[in-house]
């Protein structure tokens, strides 16, 4: 009897390779920017911070540790974690809603976050300092989620069609609300628009820890239910008859993926396309089995969003909002893959 434990057939080599690639991209992008720092120096500064051996800093510009630790790494790590989070959320939403078109924002979570953030920006709420806007965005996202769930539940059952429909309705109402806020906002309107387009500028270690806590917990929960999620794609009736508590699993994953999304949106604004494209891209490569798809999507999502953020931060002459960049690069790229792989056939 072959009884492998772990993630059930997860190709370890592929995961290790992706982890290595992610670390490489983190180190390289930390060196990129207005002040160029070589990868060796980046590594030395990081190891100095971890080990505290002062010898490591010999011959390194005194400003480097500050640039690396206080300016770049928090931003870089936040963008990687958000990339992983949005990709996972995309995988899970597509899985539980049985819909390849779903993404982390399908259920109106982005509209809820945007509405919350817009109110905070409009009323210039600074109660909690720089955390006021993210907190309002988070509250908006979570409140929207529960509104959508309660709207779509009927006698304790929630169908995926009802969820999508409720999400669209609630998002439409909230979008109108955001438009109204922009209309009355006057001077704040540009701040609101900029927030909505997403940015990783001026992230702190607090952002890193907060997103890491939510995203890593979320990934573990999703991995725990990965096989159940595979079976849910057969439809509720079949999944129930195969011993899955379909309603309970769906609700757990729904709340988990929504929490991941809410935290990601609240620290970075709305970054589109990552949560839609990465799951599809990875499904082409590793197949639809969520036990492989979830870790692969998390790692590739982290690598790609971090790379996109590095391009806008260090390569382009002026910083383009990350949400705009992901859509501009991701959209055409997705069209190319879509055509090439003839997914109409495989998704028929």
């Amino acid at each position: 009897m072959i009884k492998k434990t772990g993630l059930g057939g997860l190709p370890g080599l592929q995961t290790l390779l992706l982890i290595f690639l992610l670390l490489l991209v983190i180190i390289l992008s930390t060196g990129m920017g207005y002040i160029k720092i070589s990868p060796t120096h980046v590594l030395k500064v990081i190891f100095f911070k971890i080990t505290g051996i002062p010898k490591l800093l010999q011959g390194i510009d005194g400003v480097f540790p500050y640039v690396i630790m206080d300016v770049r790494l928090p931003r870089i790590l936040t963008s990687a974690i958000v990339g992983a989070g949005l990709s996972i959320a995309g995988v899970v939403f597509q899985g539980i809603l049985l819909n390849p078109l779903a993404d982390p924002y399908t259920l109106g979570i982005s509209a809820g976050a945007a509405f919350g953030a817009s109110i905070a920006l409009l009323l210039d709420i600074t109660l909690l300092g720089i955390y006021s806007v993210p907190l309002f965005a988070f509250i908006g996202a979570v409140a929207t989620l529960f509104a959508v769930i309660s709207l779509s539940s009927f006698e304790g059952q929630t169908s995926s069609n009802n969820l999508i429909l409720s999400g669209i309705i609630v998002a439409a109402i909230l979008s109108a609300g955001i438009s109204f806020i922009k209309y009355v906002a006057d001077e704040q309107v540009s701040i609101i628009i900029f927030w909505l387009m997403g940015s990783f500028g001026s992230k702190t270690w607090a952002d890193v820890f907060l997103t890491f806590l939510f995203v890593s917990t979320g990934i573990l929960i999703c991995l725990f239910f990965a096989r159940d999620l595979n079976i849910i794609s057969l439809g509720d009736r079949s999944a129930n008859s195969l011993g899955i508590e379909t309603n309970r699993v769906r609700m757990t994953l729904l709340v988990t993926a929504s929490m991941i999304t809410a935290v990601c949106v609240s620290v970075s604004g709305i970054i589109g396309f990552v949560g839609l494209i990465i799951p599809h891209l990875m499904r082409f490569i590793v197949g639809p089995d969520n036990r492989r798809l979830i870790p692969a999507s998390a790692l590739v999502g982290a690598i790609l969003l971090l790379s996109a953020d590095t391009i806008t931060r260090a390569v382009l002459p002026t910083e383009v909002p990350i949400g705009v960049l992901t859509a501009l690069i991701g959209g055409p790229f997705f069209c190319y893959i879509f055509k090439k792989k003839r997914i109409v056939k495989t998704y028929g």
Partner: protein, 261 residues
Amino acid sequence: MDKKRAFEVKNLFFYYGKTQILNDLSLNIDSGKFYGIVGPNGCGKTTLLDLLIKNKRPASGAIRYLGHNIKRYQRRTLAKEIALVPQDFYINFPFTVKEIVMMGRHPHISRFASPSVEDISIRDEIMERMEIDEFKEKYVTELSGGEKQRVVIARALVQDTPVLILDEGTSNMDIQHTLRTLEMAAESVKLKKRTVVAALHNLNLAAAFCDHIVFMKDGTIVSEGEIDNTLNEQNIKDVFEVDSKVYFDRYSNSKQVVYKR
């Protein structure tokens, strides 16, 4: 308590909103027999099967499986007892045929374990018998309706349960595969003492394969019993409102129904 009784259904009522679907339905299903449930569209066959697998909860009445109320069973336990072949099957994600069939082993494989050698050999044997092993690496999304249905039946068979429920499970298949599937089901009733409950549209197939026939109309049971005593012109007239002739056919070695046009 009667050990030979698989299901005991008592005074079942079920509503969709205000529409009554099942009306005071009672039925005993003995184990080790092939039951065919027939009746016009919308008579509540699928709902009854849904209640048997605990996919829905009755408004009132009770279902006992092996003497215990079905409410008391955990889904996972029930999944080792009862397998379902659903009426329609729709999937959006490109799983391969063998991945889908392996999902039938889900209740037997613990959460983070990989399929055992036994799981794999059960899967391969069933795929061969359902003649789907030649396209086992194909994506289910690329298959025709009938091929897909064979995959779904294979998935239910690898679940390896004492009870198999077919909800019009053969409706999209060609006659060769329909006969083959029903033959496999009937054979496992004989050899493995499996209980099969099949909702069927074709009365002649019911007559050829089932031991027991259940006539349903308007959410309740009009008549039920062994094929020989129960499949007759009067019951067909009462349930389907068509004129027919029922006779014993030597070629098929079973009762057969012909209709007046």
